[in-house]
């Protein structure tokens, strides 16, 4: 009996399994189970529901015993959901026997539970043995059917994403790695140049002890000695200058490249993310991340990190030199260091949170702009300039507020470090004078110490600044890696199937899609033959666009599968698959560039002859020639203004040029008037010929050519047939058509005076 491969009892979490196993009868097998995480009052609680070959078993953690329901005629297990919470209900013919609640998470498991319940019930009643649709491999965890070439379940794989680690800055190493060699040279240069800068203070010691102090005590100045020391000073300064220049240039070069790589990689990754990601993000925020954040990181690496490394090296070297001169004085000098380090550590956390907040609020300010400026016509039409200004003001106020709070901590920081520096110097003076009075050190040693420590503390002060810039850079890095870590919800298959040519046979098997908690489509079954034209009809919100988005794989189905030429589209490489699809949208988008470039967007290597042929077929050739620069006219933002119909014909030419096997027309003629629509319709007729076409149209009259019309309502298919069949059936389509026929009459009458001047204006453009 090849059933849904019986689950072993050990897949059930152990506390449940322990109390279940004595209960199971001989021959009784566990088929599927789900965990229940809510009680009927919607409080969090734990429970489990299990379908076995004999019955349905349920136990909540608070129950003492298992509840069981045996298979009887009319029992039915159903599921529905609302706002993220599912209902699992058990009915017999007369009433509801029981119900359970759970948070949505694993839809497939629930569906499988219901499916196996129904199968077992039918088996018990009829004694019939069910053969699973073929002997298909199934994911052991969620039970979804896997195609032959898939080893891992695409659904389960998607759900297991580990949160990224906290050491975000270190992750930049991935981008620094290619420049290892140059970084090493830069580091060695840093080491040498720092050592060179430490020579001058050292020379003050003999200068003081061997020249100045003896002179004060009545001895003449030894000119030769002075020359030697001073040339040493000059030499060290020049060496430090050359080395400093070399290392700064080298490291700036590298950091600029790292920044550029980071930017490009982030943008490339962003482009590959699914439509879903862009739906949930705001343009202003994404632009800020790729632009400003990468720049900040870049600056951090080239300037601050470099300075910090230099500082650390200098402190280490200075410490070694000081100890070698006089360990006791060195000890006293170095005492304030841990205090300052502790202070830095104390402020670090607060500042990091603060700077992250500042970034976020900054993005919010940007978002207000990104919202308002594109919608400026609406703002002006409703005279809401004041309100928008107030919104901007509010965002700005919050920006101020948060900045004020950060600055309160930050402003205290630098003066404190300066104070500590002064106190540190004071301590060195006191201890130094005391040691000189005891003849333990010379005046030269104290001078050298003071010279060193002056630099030393200045560096500490600037090092304290690294705290804030590091935090800022870490915050920026985190936001960049937020994008980079985002796994596309339309993942590439691990071992993809390459299709050289596509015939265009599309099969939708039990397709369901859920957006957030809203179930948008359910149980869609449809087979589309190669070359067939399908019209999708239904009210707005009936799931037409969703279906098209699923076929284009802008989103992945949550249930079932979409199969093109016998392959699940999830097993095909995404971009390769989309090359076979031509898409004409309601609002054609033209990029900034020439008309020729826009037509050749999907096939940049197209010849001019190809482009002209496509434009001719799309009935765009003539109006393009009327433009002052023909095919070289600039369009898109800041370019030549084109009417809606003209833009649409360019986008049709664009789709024609890539010669796709599958064509999708998403309300391609909706945004233009009826006269223009006729032109576009002619262009579309050329496009549709010989291709599998799926067309969505608001005006039913434009779908007359379709082989079959699929009528959708609330995410389900309600009717399928051609226009004549559906009209004679007098069902849903008939009503829709009648309702529209009345509207179209009035619409057309209303249009006539508008259309005439419009076309005249169009000619003069």
């Amino acid at each position: 009996m090849q059933q849904t491969s019986p689950l072993l009892i050990n897949t059930i979490p152990s506390p449940w399994a322990d109390s279940l196993s004595p209960l199971l009868l001989e021959e009784e097998k566990v088929l599927s189970w789900i965990t229940i995480d809510l009680d009927t009052r919607l409080y969090f609680a734990e429970g489990i529901a299990i379908v076995t070959t004999q019955r349905l078993l349920v136990k909540m953690a608070s129950d003492d015993a298992w509840q069981a329901w045996h298979y009887q005629p009319d029992v039915m297990l159903t599921q529905r959901d609302h706002a993220g919470v599912g209902y699992l209900e058990l009915f017999d013919g007369y009433s509801r026997l029981a119900y359970w609640r759970y948070r949505l998470g694993n839809d497939l498991a629930v569906n499988r539970l219901i499916e196996s319940f129904a199968q077992q019930r039918d088996r018990h009643l009829s004694g019939k043995v069910f053969s699973q649709d073929e002997e298909q491999a199934r994911c052991p965890r969620c039970g979804i059917a896997l195609s032959i070439d898939q080893d891992e379940c695409p659904v389960c794989e998607k759900q297991t994403h580990a949160p990224p680690s906290t050491w975000t800055l270190l992750r930049l190493w991935r981008f620094a790695k290619p420049y290892k060699g140059r970084l090493l040279i830069g580091f060695l240069l840093t080491l040498c140049s720092t050592a060179a800068t430490l020579v001058p203070p050292y020379l003050t010691m003999p200068l003081m002890d061997n020249v100045l102090i003896p002179y004060q005590n009545g001895q003449p100045i030894d000119i030769e000695l002075v020359k030697l020391y001073l040339s040493g000073l000059l030499g060290a300064a020049i060496l430090a200058w050359i080395l400093g220049w070399a290392r700064t240039y080298m490291l700036a070069l590298v950091s600029e490249r790292i920044g550029a790589d980071l930017r490009t990689t982030t943008y490339e990754h962003l482009l590959n993310l699914s439509q879903e990601y862009f739906g949930g993000k705001r343009t202003g925020d994404l632009m800020a991340r790729i632009g400003a954040e990468t720049d900040r990181i870049n600056l951090f690496i080239s300037l601050h990190l470099l300075d910090f490394a230099t500082d650390v090296i200098m402190i280490c070297m200075t410490a070694v030199i000081l100890v070698s001169i006089n360990p006791w004085l060195a000890l006293v000098t170095l005492v304030p260091l841990p205090i300052i380090a502790w202070l830095i550590h104390l402020v670090r956390d607060r500042l990091r949170i603060g700077f992250e907040k500042v970034d976020r609020i900054w993005a919010e300010v940007n978002n207000v702009l990104a919202d308002t400026i594109p919608g400026i016509r609406v703002v002006k039409a409703f005279a809401q300039e004041k309100r928008e200004a107030a919104r901007f003001l509010a965002a700005n106020q919050r920006n101020l507020q948060i900045n004020d709070r950060v600055n309160r901590v930050w402003s205290l920081f630098t003066p404190t470090v300066t104070l500590l520096t002064e106190i540190g110097l004071l301590v060195v003076w006191v201890f130094g004078i005391w040691q000189i009075s005891k003849d333990q050190i010379t005046v030269g040693v104290l001078t050298a110490f003071l010279a060193y420590i002056g630099r030393f503390y200045i560096r500490l002060d600037s090092m304290s600044r690294i705290v804030s810039v590091t935090q800022k850079a870490a915050a920026g890095t985190k936001r960049i890696f937020d994008i980079l870590d985002h796994v596309s919800s339309v993942p590439e298959s691990i071992n993809p199937v390459h299709l050289a040519t596509v015939q265009g046979r599309i099969e939708l098997r039990n397709v369901g899609f859920r957006y957030g908690t809203r179930s948008i489509t359910r149980n869609i079954n449809l087979e589309i033959q190669p070359g067939e034209m399908i019209g999708l009809v239904g009210h707005s919100g009936s799931g037409k666009s969703t279906l098209v988005n699923l076929i284009c794989r802008f989103y992945d189905v949550t249930e079932g599968a979409i199969i093109v030429d016998g392959h699940d589209i999830r097993s095909l490489p995404v971009t390769e698959y989309r090359k076979h699809i031509g898409l004409v949208l309601q609002e054609p988008f033209l990029f900034y560039g020439t008309i020729a470039e826009n037509i050749a967007y999907g096939k940049p290597d197209a010849t001019h002859a190809d482009i002209v042929a496509a434009a001719r077929a799309a009935h765009a050739h003539e109006f393009i020639l009327r433009l002052p620069h023909g095919y070289d006219s600039l369009v898109g933002e800041r370019g030549q203004a084109l009417s809606g119909g003209e833009r649409q014909r360019i986008s049709i030419a664009r789709a024609l040029l890539i010669n796709p096997r599958i064509l999708i027309l998403d309300e391609a003629t909706s945004s233009v008037d009826t006269t223009t629509e006729k032109d576009i319709q002619k262009a579309l007729d050329n496009l549709v010929r010989g291709r599998t076409t799926i067309a969505i149209a608001h005006r039913l009259s434009t779908l007359r050519e379709a082989n079959r019309l699929v009528v959708l309502d609330r995410g389900r298919i309600v009717e399928i047939g051609n226009h004549v069949e559906l009209m004679s059936r007098e069902g849903y389509y008939h009503r829709l058509y009648q309702a529209q026929a009345r509207n179209v009459d009035t619409e057309e009458r209303g249009f006539i005076p508008v259309v005439e001047p419009h076309s005249v204006v169009g000619d003069h453009k």
Binding site: L42, A83, G84, E89, R96, L104, P163, K357
Partner: protein
């Protein structure tokens, strides 16, 4: 002021609300829906049929007779799931996606936050957090949370 409604409402053995109007139409599976579930939950409740068409508009629930009110309230309670976070125990990381372990008015639970943009500011002090499955968690007054929770939450605001 309680006036007599122009419809009849009862619950059948299948646990569904059944609606009878004056013209004798009977509809099963009627659902009450709040118009402003967050900003003004008690004002404006609509009874809609299984297809989402509005049947009755109830301005205020207290205008209805006791029995109907209880039926509707019971149905609303079983449909509304917006746990209110009382305490944050632990968050797995300050970088999203992160798992939050929280105490709510409906017991302890955990959920996964996909991104900071899923935390929506309702008013200055109240927040709505949408988890990765679309369940909404409410924080009515974040300033009234305990120190530990406020500190954790602060990382995400």
């Amino acid at each position: 002021m309680s006036h007599v409604p122009t419809f009849e409402l009862l619950r059948n053995a299948f646990g569904r609300l059944v609606f009878n109007d004056q013209s004798g139409v009977t509809l099963e599976g009627v659902i009450p829906v709040r118009s402003f579930p967050i900003t003004d939950p008690d004002q404006g409740i609509a009874l809609v049929d299984a297809h989402g068409h509005e049947l009755v508009w109830i301005e205020r629930l207290i205008d209805l007779p006791e029995g109907y009110r209880q039926l509707i309230e019971a149905e609303l309670v079983s449909r509304e799931f917006m746990p209110e976070i009382k305490r944050l125990h632990k968050v797995s990381s300050f970088i999203t996606p992160s798992t939050w372990h929280v105490e709510t008015d409906r017991g302890d639970t955990s959920f996964s936050l996909k991104g900071e943009e899923d935390i929506r500011r309702l008013t200055n002090s109240s927040l709505m957090i949408t988890d990765s499955h679309g369940v909404h968690f409410l924080i009515r007054n974040r300033l009234a949370l305990d120190r530990h929770s406020r500190k954790l939450l602060d990382h995400f605001l």
